[in-house]
Amino acid sequence: MKVDFWGQEFQVNMWVGCIGGFLIAIMSSMFGFGGGPFMVPLMTVALRLPMYIVVGSSLLAIFFNTTVSTMRHYQFGNFDLVFFLAMFPAALLGGYIGPQIAKRVSPLVVKRVACAGLLLLALNLLGVY
């Protein structure tokens, strides 16, 4: 498939994109996360697209998934309104504060901390400690 973006033309292998997106969507909707950190590498590495086309478009693709999976979770009675109302304002507030802190910290440090934190969390889930 050919995609035009700001005067550039890209050849996108939609088979890879759709199958990869499909698998990521199953996983992310099953476990309740967005899926951005998996979609971005899929589009930049597997589809060889430059970052500037990926940032917006991956968000749009994920949005499709999150909308449907929200509806499905609601249908299966997995959605708890009171719990949601406790988390939602905090998420909004965090989304507002986050970018202001982001200017002051080095992304490299954040990523290293995240890397260590994720590993710890993973080992905990796997019951290693």
Binding site: V3, D4, F5, W6, G17, C18, F22, I24, A25, M27, S29, M30, G32, F33, G35, P37, P50, M51, Y52, I53, V55, G56, S57, L59, L60, A61, I62, F63, F64, N65, T66, S69, T70, R72, H73, Y74, F76, G77, N78, F79, D80, V82, F83, A86, A90, A91, L92, L93, G94, G95, I97, G98, I101, K111, A114, L118, L119, A122, N124, L125
Partner: protein, 414 residues
């Protein structure tokens, strides 16, 4: 004409009632006399409780008298709130060697359910605890002799679905099977009790002091974080040897709220603060908070079912995605063709995923999520390698260049 018909109907009703009322009373009398001989053999146990209200859990002193020489079990349950419990049976049947693939689900599981047994039975409970996750609720009840006290969940309405691969692919639970008979329903309900309450300590406890003459006392601990409303306690000594239920109320107040779908009450300040921290950190590391939020919630609040966690965190990230898309679309920085193209494939995935959530157990959920996080950590690590950073710098500068152009043209248009 109509009036006559109406008055005739009224008349016939009245006669029906006046005739049937004595008949009913007669039937009750014969029933009562029929049951009398059994009652003389052993009187039903009695029960008294020392208080009728609790504040988000606490201890209740229960005392009473059981027929001498008979055991006593206290069945305690939340009478006002029920929760969902489900189970996917994919274990090989020992007799037929076939895997049943049947999905059991009930909406009528009490939000709290526990049987208190005499203290002497503690070793048997300890033995079940040693079995880890493989303990069997039905075997434990039989071992304790407490299956006579297992009454409330036994009659919960359970739906069962025959799951097939095809049905799973299209995201359906499968075909609804006929209801089970009472015995089978009881057996499956025990599995659902385990699937809901998970640990041995949540469903049985040895706290009853029973003397030889049949009088008993027990300090019943009701843990915090349970559903509000009325709870009932019934003392059971044997089949048909039950006391009247004693009722007490569990009260909760701000900032603790009852999460009706999760079936637990919780101080909501903690998830609020947790979400705030995770959301900020999510922005900094450039990944949605869901990755950290789900495992943290599951680890920190074990009372929350994983289905509820996944199902409630998902809509929370929806908004930030929506606002991101809105901001990019204002400067026309989204390839709608590319996004929607891959989005259609993701739509299908998002349709299937949530059904799989309820088919897996908490342990499977943790195991899979653990590996996902390891992959994610590897991705994060890759993003800190020098090669990636150099490349990323180039990419970012191109990105900023294009973004600038987009912003300028958006400005020019307006």
């Amino acid at each position: 004409m109509k009036k006559i018909v109406f008055s005739l109907m009224v008349l016939s009703f009245i006669t029906l009632f006046t005739v049937s009322a004595p008949l009913n009373a007669l039937a009750e009398e014969t029933n009562a006399t029929g049951a009398a001989p059994a009652a003389t053999e052993a009187a039903a146990p009695t029960i008294t409780i020392d208080k009728t209200t609790l504040n988000n859990g606490g201890t209740i002193k229960v005392s009473g008298k059981a027929p001498a020489g008979m055991p006593i079990y206290l069945e305690v349950w939340a009478a006002d709130h029920t929760v969902k419990s489900n189970l996917f049976d994919s274990k090989k049947d020992k007799e037929t060697g076939k895997i049943p693939y049947i999905f059991y689900i009930t909406e009528e599981m009490p939000a709290y359910y526990k049987i208190f047994v005499p203290k002497e039975l503690q070793p048997k409970i300890d033995a079940a605890k040693k079995e880890g996750n493989k303990w069997s609720y039905s075997a434990l009840l039989k071992d304790l002799g407490a299956d006579v006290a297992y009454n409330v969940p036994a009659v919960a309405k359970i739906d069962r679905y025959q799951a097939t691969l095809m049905a799973s692919v299209i995201g359906s639970r499968g075909t609804l099977l006929d209801p089970m008979d009472a015995k089978e329903n009881k057996k499956r309900s025990m599995q659902l009790v385990k699937s809901r309450f998970r640990s041995v300590g949540n469903v049985v406890s040895a706290d009853v002091n029973l003397s030889a003459d049949g009088s008993y006392t027990a300090d019943i601990k009701i843990r915090d974080g349970l559903s509000p409303g009325n709870y009932k306690i019934v003392a059971v000594s044997g089949k048909d040897l039950k006391s009247e239920p004693a009722v007490f109320e569990n009260k909760i107040g701000f900032p603790t709220f009852y999460l009706s779908n999760a079936g637990t009450s919780m101080n909501l300040i903690y998830p609020f603060l947790l979400t705030l921290v995770v959301a900020i950190f999510g922005v900094l590391m450039g990944a949605g908070g869901g990755f950290i939020m789900n495992p943290l919630l599951i680890t920190l609040f074990p009372a929350l079912p994983h289905t509820i966690v996944a199902g409630t965190v998902t809509p929370t990230v929806l908004f930030s995605q929506g606002s991101g898309i809105f901001n990019y679309s204002k400067i026309n920085f989204i390839s709608w063709k590319l996004g929607a193209g891959i989005g259609c494939a993701m739509l299908l995935g998002g349709f299937i995923g949530p059904k799989l959530t309820e088919m897996i157990t908490l342990d499977q959920f943790k195991f899979a999520f653990g590996w996902i996080l390891i992959v994610l950590a590897a991705l994060m690590f890759w993003q800190t390698t020098p090669g990636y950073i150099a490349n990323n710098k180039k990419e970012q500068s191109i990105l900023n260049q294009f973004k600038k152009r987009a912003q300028e043209s958006a400005k020019a248009k307006s």
